[in-house]
Amino acid sequence: MVAVKRVVDYNVRVRVKPDGSGMALEGLKMSINPFDEIAIEAALRLKEAGTCDNVLLVSLGPAEIEPQLRTGLAMGADRAIRVDVAGSLEPLIVARALHAVALREQPILVLLGKQAVDDDHGQTGQMLAALWGRPQATFASQLTVADGVATVTREVDAGLETLAVDLPAVVTTDLRLNQPRYVKLPEILKAKTKPLTVLPFAALEIPAQRQFTVREYVPPPQRSAGVRVKDVPELVATLRSRGVLA
């Protein structure tokens, strides 16, 4: 099972709305969150290695998110579930929804991106693992599965940490785990007929109360361009005069 979030494309520069009520997202190119794309690729490789039979994508949102699920199906996932819900969702609510789906679907592994590049929370996978009472291995850069155990190398501040976790488990992906495949046209056509189930959010019977209010979107303070120096001696002299170098 792979959780997928639709976000503004990584390469698009996003700006604050003039009234500060949010980000101006209308008309921007949308994509699968890049870390989630890596998660899909990781699941597909496990299937190709015979570790699992089936790759399920799960996403939460309105019908507009279906193109991203179709893209994931075109990559090679077998089926998709869209939990139908409007508005922005806090990570805990997403984790509860994924937990409810996991209890129905009984996956051996749930893969998610380590963070979504829009809200930058980085919480959902860990919260899902907590609610499910299962192991978590975050920031994965290597993943192997054998005999009911996932061995995961994690990108941590101190270097590379390896954990062994019993399945089922939750793994969140970092950039170096893999390079997601490109989708070919025949796959896009084939994906149109793959099963995409819509599940009403209410059917999951989970608490959906918001706990946070987010307001006052402002652009961050900008650094301004400084001086240009012509060569290395002037660079050293400038840094000395500013007290940066002794």
């Binding site: 980000m23 805990l92 402002v218």
Partner: protein, 318 residues
């Protein structure tokens, strides 16, 4: 009453500088009590270091063999136990805190505020979204526990004070065995730690190869600096992943940041914009890095960097 629990980060012997920064953030909450929790196998030295942080009222040391490695699944239920009666639980926005705190929050049935960059009052915080393209105010429900991670680049550490009391606690919570530590591979080459270094020299894809990246490490050594890299340089295999600076790597705030052959994508800029002085060396005069650099040098890095390195070495020898 504001009762804050700060989860200490350490490697078993030394307290991480991140903890002093979390304490600084905790002090901004104007707490009635401020407790630092140290989970370790042993850990007396770490607890003593934590007890000396100004503002800390008490250090709780939970010394148990299962706390030898910082496993979120093992630590989270213990943090929950200690958080009983607290209004806030804080941890660093390092890979340690990012891994652990959301698990704690979910076990408590609450959400989390990630990467707090400023405290407005006990339940209102500022944080970035969209790779730092906006700063937002998050208001937490005052009737619930607040779990938050602290953006380390936004805080300086508290200083030392007369030591607080250290209390040893043994917790009767069940810890899972489904998660097992295998190994930690670490190779810093004797250089300063990237997250906490005063000076950082970082290289981009323009270095061309692992071999070319040596220009960066030589300059870093001449400056006594840590080595960083853009995502492009890491993806190209020039350096290890833990040297990546930016939205999805490390967010740092050194006194001096030297960006060499880095064009300056927003995802990179968000990782360095709190640096005191940014120096950019790039052959493309239109590179976005120059829009935020304090000192810019348009030059071929393969000439300029060795020249700068030898100029710095010559100064050392005088």
């Amino acid at each position: 009453m504001i009762r804050v629990l700060v989860v200490a980060e350490h490697d078993g012997r030394r307290l991480s500088a991140a903890t002093a920064k979390c304490v600084r953030c905790a002090v901004d909450l104007k707490p009635d009590s401020l407790v630092v929790a140290v989970f370790a196998d042993g850990g007396s030295t770490v607890a003593e270091q934590a007890a000396q942080l100004a503002g800390v009222g008490e250090v709780v040391l939970v010394d148990a063999p299962h706390n030898a490695a910082p496993l979120a699944a093992v630590l989270a239920p213990q943090v929950v136990e200690l958080a009983n009666g607290c209004t806030h639980v804080l941890g660093p926005s390092s890979t340690f805190g990012k891994d652990l705190l959301p698990r704690v929050a979910a076990l408590c049935g609450v959400g989390q505020v990630s990467d707090v960059l400023a405290v407005l009052d006990s339940h209102r915080f500022r944080r970035h979204v969209h790779a730092g393209s906006a700063v937002v105010t998050v208001e937490a429900d005052p009737t619930r526990l607040v779990v938050a991670t602290v953006r380390l680049a936004s805080y300086s550490g508290v200083g030392a004070a007369a030591p607080a009391a250290i209390t040893r606690r043994s917790l009767s919570v069940a810890v899972p065995s489904h998660t097992r530590f295998v190994e930690l591979r670490s190779d810093k080459g004797g250089r300063p730690d990237l997250q906490t270094a005063n000076r950082v020299v970082a290289g981009g894809r323009a270095l061309g190869s692992q071999d070319g990246f040596r220009l960066i490490t030589e300059l870093a050594d001449a400056l006594g600096a840590a080595v960083g890299a853009s995502r492009a340089a890491v993806d190209s295999g020039f350096v290890a992943n833990d040297q990546q600076v930016g939205q999805t790597g490390k967010i740092i705030a050194p006194e001096l940041y030297v960006a060499v052959g880095i064009s300056g994508a927003i995802q990179h800029i968000t990782g360095i914009k709190d640096a005191r002085t940014i120096v950019a060396i790039n052959k493309d005069p239109e590179a976005p890095i120059f829009e935020i650099a304090d000192v810019g040098l348009v030059a071929d890095l393969f000439k300029a960097v060795p020249e700068l390195t030898s100029a710095l070495r010559a100064r050392d020898e005088r």
